[in-house]
């Protein structure tokens, strides 16, 4: 990932900061400034809770360049409780334990390192919703 892109997309990748449309109130992630639902400008920041459920998932055995050392890993479409779907890796869970509908929560994690002297990238992953947090939201 290019340094400027990494910096520019920081708030959304580190903490799921999205946008809310002031016209139709759709919650948008990733932020995109024009609401895809109603076409109106949508530049109001919105902090997503990070909670959602697994909509679909896949275990990658053959990974793209730069990701091979982490394979196998699980990627998922997570349905956020505010509505949007987000593509993300799952963490702290065995591939065999993942199921559609499973409650998950966002955590900030290391994504990958670009070699010995390159950027260490961080971003969002999702883990199974912790029981304690589920009991005391």
């Amino acid at each position: 990932m290019r340094n400027a892109s990494y910096w520019r997309t920081g708030p959304q990748r580190m903490s799921l900061m999205g946008e809310v449309c002031p016209h139709c109130h759709a919650k948008l992630f990733p932020p995109r400034d024009v609401c895809p639902k109603c076409g109106a400008p949508a530049r109001e920041a919105y902090q997503f809770s990070g909670r959602g459920t697994v909509y679909s998932f896949s275990t990658l055995y053959s990974a793209p360049l730069g990701w091979a050392e982490y394979a196998p890993y699980v990627v998922a479409l997570v349905k956020l409780e505010e509505g949007p779907l987000v593509t993300a890796q799952l963490t702290d869970v065995a591939p065999t334990e993942v199921a559609i509908g499973m409650p998950v929560e966002m955590v900030t994690r290391k994504m990958r390192a670009e070699g010995e002297s390159g950027l260490i990238q961080y971003g969002y992953k999702f883990r199974p919703l912790l029981q304690e947090a589920a009991a005391h939201p």
């Binding site: 360049l65 998922a76 593509t87």
Partner: protein, 386 residues
């Protein structure tokens, strides 16, 4: 708008062409198509290609392929729409002839995927998806299809074995296609045991990395008739888009752009799914075949996979698909695929498909899908009576 026909076709075998460069492959297909059409110097060349910049460090393909094909001087440019680059170039050629700007154009699709290692090519293919919100999450292009397949199996109650028929049919049809990459049959049992790439997508759900080039020559149908050329009419050309990222769609399994472009094509051609004699669909992954069958109106939502289970997609079935092997077995050199589909459909409609001939076919549908459904182009081709 003028009516447009395909009057010449050319293709090289889909292979790992280590000895042949991008421009040599493209030029070969262009020259074969021009020769087939009996056209010496077309007004323009449009080149469909997705990955040349990333894999070969080469852009400016229009001029490059034109020059290597002996056409230095003509208008030429590259057209890119991810895996639908081939059909996108075909549509640009169609627009150029239909509009009256050119009386003869050649459209070529070319892709050189084997100049890089597999993980590099895998990374390059992810550029069809959202770079930051899909690619930088570690997702491969295969995995995006896997996310669709997993959800499809969950919603409609299929196991992955239900998709075996798509691979079995494609490989069986490729047996008699000398230009196909995999001329060998596979069994449902082999499909069941196939190695996982991104679960539930296995090796035998997927099209392979390959090199290839194919081309067609287009002229106004009236001109083709006047010159007694073998013509196959482009009865419809329709394109539609969706969000690039899978997660930005309200209904990921609906493949809305495929639906929209198919409906646009039916409207333009004045026909309906039941009128289609065969279809070359975008079977890059078995799940895409199922979703494309549904989007084109050949099956209800959730019923696409069932067509593979009841032999409806075989050459003798209700809607034969992948008649020369499809992306699965003929091979999927991404930016060239749309042109291979058009060339194969033309062979069928000319009655020149040999052992793979769909008897008495008159109308074929060709659908090329870019990304996980972001850019979809559908053409309907029709036999022209003399």
């Amino acid at each position: 708008m003028r009516d447009v026909s395909i009057v010449g076709i050319g293709q090289i075998p889909v292979r790992e062409h280590w000895a042949r460069s991008l421009q040599v492959m493209g030029a070969d297909a262009v020259r074969l198509a021009l020769q087939d059409a009996g056209v010496e110097r077309p007004g323009a060349l449009y080149v469909g290609n997705m990955l040349s910049g990333q894999i070969s460090g080469q852009e400016n393909l229009g001029a490059l392929v034109a020059d290597h094909a002996g056409l230095r001087g003509i208008e030429a440019l590259k057209v890119e729409a991810a895996c639908a680059s081939g059909a996108a170039a075909l549509r640009v050629g169609y627009i150029a002839v239909a509009s009256g700007l050119h009386d003869a154009v050649v459209v070529c699709g070319v892709e050189k995927m084997t100049d890089a290692l597999v993980d590099e090519t895998t990374a390059a293919l992810v550029s069809a998806a959202d770079a930051v919100y899909e690619g930088e999450q570690g997702v491969s292009f295969v995995a995006l299809n896997a996310l669709l397949m997993q959800r499809y199996m969950h919603e409609y109650g299929y196991t992955r074995d239900a998709f075996a028929g798509f691979a079995v049919n494609a490989h069986r049809n490729a047996l008699h296609n000398p230009n196909a990459m995999f001329r060998r049959a596979v069994t449902a049992e082999a499909f069941h045991r196939s190695k996982m790439i991104a679960s539930p997508v296995s090796l035998l759900d997927s099209s392979a990395i390959a090199d290839g080039a194919a081309a067609v020559v287009l002229t106004p149908t009236e001109l083709a008739r006047a010159h007694g050329m073998r013509a196959v009419r482009i009865a419809a050309s329709a394109a539609a888009t969706d969000s690039v990222a899978l997660h930005e769609r309200d209904e990921p399994l609906a493949l809305a752009a495929a639906r929209q472009s198919a409906l646009g094509a039916y409207a333009q051609a004045g026909c309906k799914p039941a009128d289609i004699d065969f279809a070359e669909l975008h079977d890059a992954f078995t799940i895409m075949t199922a979703l494309s069958l549904e989007a084109c109106g050949f099956a209800e939502r959730g019923e696409g996979a069932r067509l593979a289970m009841v032999d409806a997609i075989t050459p003798a079935g209700r809607i034969p698909i992948s008649t020369m092997g499809g992306l699965k077995a003929r091979g999927h050199p991404v930016g060239a695929t749309g042109l291979y589909q058009a060339v194969e459909a033309t062979l069928q409609l000319r009655g020149e498909a040999g052992d793979n001939q769909i008897a008495g076919c008159r109308i074929g549908l060709v659908q090329n899908i870019g990304g996980s459904g972001a850019n979809v182009i559908t053409h309907i081709l029709e036999r022209v009576g003399h």
